[in-house]
Amino acid sequence: MSRFLFLFAFMLIGAGLFGAVFSAPLGTNWGLLAGGLAGALVWLVREDRQGRRLLDWLSALKKTPVSDAAAIASPARLSFFWREFAEHAERVLRLHHRALQKQRLRTENLIDALQATPNGIIMLDARRRIQWMNTFACLHFALDAERDIGQSITHLLRDPVFVAGLVRQEFCKPILLTSPCSTPRQPMRLSLQLCPYGKNRLLLLSQEITHIEKAEAGQRAFIANVSHELRTPLTVLAGFIETLQTLPLDEEERQDYLARMERQALQMQTLVADLLTLSCLEESPPPDFTQWSPIRGLLTVCAAEARAFAGLIAKNAQAKAHQIHFPADAGLGEIAGNARELQSAFSNLVHNAIRHTPPGSRVDVYWQHNEDGSATLTVQDNGPGIAPEHLSRLTERFYRVDPGRSRESGGTGLGLSIVKHVLQRHGAALEIDSAPGQGARFSATFPKSGIRH
């Protein structure tokens, strides 16, 4: 309804009322005019109050946060034209509000996704200032997600290698550097990648590569070790071959040299066999835990091997053989898993004890069922023992407490690595307990699930 109709109606009512009252003193025409004017005035006042209400509502809206949907409700006590105006405004506001909420939800989702990535992300503006970063970026570069917004990245990430990369705009090559949070105990190496996006903006991605570099270093060390281990017997072998070729030797000497050559060849053979065992352990699927083997049988084979080995050593050294004791009782139950692997682990443990103790020492093997259902194989010797600084590294490949002696006795440096691998695959734990002069005790504890009577 038009506002003028309203004005007209008010003027008419005013004129009607006033005309009746004031026509006597003023005359009919003046009375009607005064009444009309008074009606118009009342209308004006009313209009003003309604408009004011609307304005108050709008200015209150300006101050409330955008997310507050309740504040959008339009004021009550409005009539006709103003009512319509307010309803339109409210509808438009609600539409915008809904769109905004949707947008905000999408942005939040996006930010959550960026936060969830395991890599550091920093967004840089055209002047290389930090616009936004995720938690991993904070961890990688020791930054503060709130305080450091707006900082120049080169002010906080000052490594010259990075700054040079940023200046040269190296977008394809990753930049490798040490994190500012890196400590000697906990090193942290990072690989950084710069990606341009939008209008002259940059995305700085960071990834921790400490473990990758460590694995690579391990790989290199392993290859170096293997080459070294193979080279030593090969050199000896080559030397003997040359001697046999060039020197006239009598039969006895020849036999002696050939025997030594055989020993070196055997050494290489065991090394290659151990390496193959290790790589098999790494490659093959987890052992089949539905296969049960009697522990008695495993230990019997192990005992036979150990005695033969001890005898060989005693013969070579022309000394008394080791005293080896295995458990005597018949009922030891069964163990789940790959019998061949377990056999190799047990044998390695016992051989290890024989190899690293002087001839005539005592080696005791126990099998013990624990209260919680697990079972422990213990190999105890009364040899020279192991110094504490070696204990944690014993199971590393090619780690040797006394390199010369171990190789002499035919050790490859891989025995305990194989043991550790096998035990890990069977869910067992290896514990080494020793002190210099007090012998050594190696115990492998198998979980309850892998043992039955």
């Binding site: 120049s152 080169t154 002010h155 906080l156 000052r158 490594d159 000697p184």
Partner: protein, 235 residues
């Protein structure tokens, strides 16, 4: 460093010079790390690298000083801007000295490697002090970038730790010298080395003091920590 001036050119000048200072700081930090690695691993190649790069640090100091002179002459800054520029000048000097100390350490490592001596000396005991020094320099530069007064105060407090380490190390060296007079020359070398490390910590502390000067306008040099803290509590 984010306050706006009427002249945006001035803003970008200030920003540029801060960036140059931070770049110099980054280089000096790497120098410190390299010198420490050279010392820990007795690496003559790393030591040689440190000695070679020292010229670069010196050049950066000259460049920053020249830029500072021209900004002060052109813009005639006042208040906080003037303090910032003055502090940058002093911090540059301090950073250059840190560079000199790393140079000194590298030379010492080189001579130790070449002479073959000093290997059975207690170099491992320096490790704590060297790592602390590197950390302090790093945090001092971070605090400058953020103009973070509370971090600056922490740095000033921690410098005492290095001083204590240095004293302990000196005492240890004295016992070596008393036990075996032949160890005296090696011990003296190590003492100079330890002194260089201790000086790096001092320079970090100086940088921290300039941060307080920029932000608060109070000169806290040569005053005790309690004095500093009370001075900062005043509005």
């Amino acid at each position: 460093m984010n306050e706006k001036h009427l002249s945006s050119q001035f803003d970008s000048d200030l920003n540029n010079i801060s960036s140059q200072l931070m770049a110099m700081g980054g280089l000096v930090e790497t120098q410190v790390h390299r010198a420490i690695a050279a010392l820990a691993g007795f690496s003559a190649t790393l030591a040689a690298e440190v000695i070679e790069t020292d010229d670069q640090v010196d050049n950066m100091e000259v460049t920053i000083d020249r830029a500072l002179t021209s900004i002060i002459a052109l813009r005639q800054p006042t208040a906080r801007d003037l303090r910032l520029l003055l502090a940058i000048s002093k911090i540059t000097t301090n950073l250059e000295r840190v560079g000199d100390e790393t140079h000194k350490i590298a030379r010492m490592v080189k001579s130790i490697v070449e002479s073959g001596g000093a290997r059975n000396m207690p170099i491992g005991d320096l490790r704590v002090a060297t790592d602390l020094a590197a950390d302090l320099i790093h945090r001092a530069l971070d605090a400058f970038a953020r103009l973070d007064v509370s971090a600056a105060i922490v740095i000033m407090k921690e410098d005492d730790l290095i001083d204590r380490e240095f004293k302990g190390f000196t005492r240890k060296l004295i016992t070596y010298m008393v036990e075996d007079p032949r160890a005296i020359s090696d011990s003296l070398n190590l003492l100079f080395l330890a002194k260089a490390v201790e000086r790096i910590g001092d320079h970090a502390k100086n940088i921290a003091e300039f941060i307080i000067y920029i932000v608060k306008g109070t000169d806290v040099r040569h005053s005790s920590l309690t004095q500093v803290e009370t001075a900062l509590q005043e509005p």
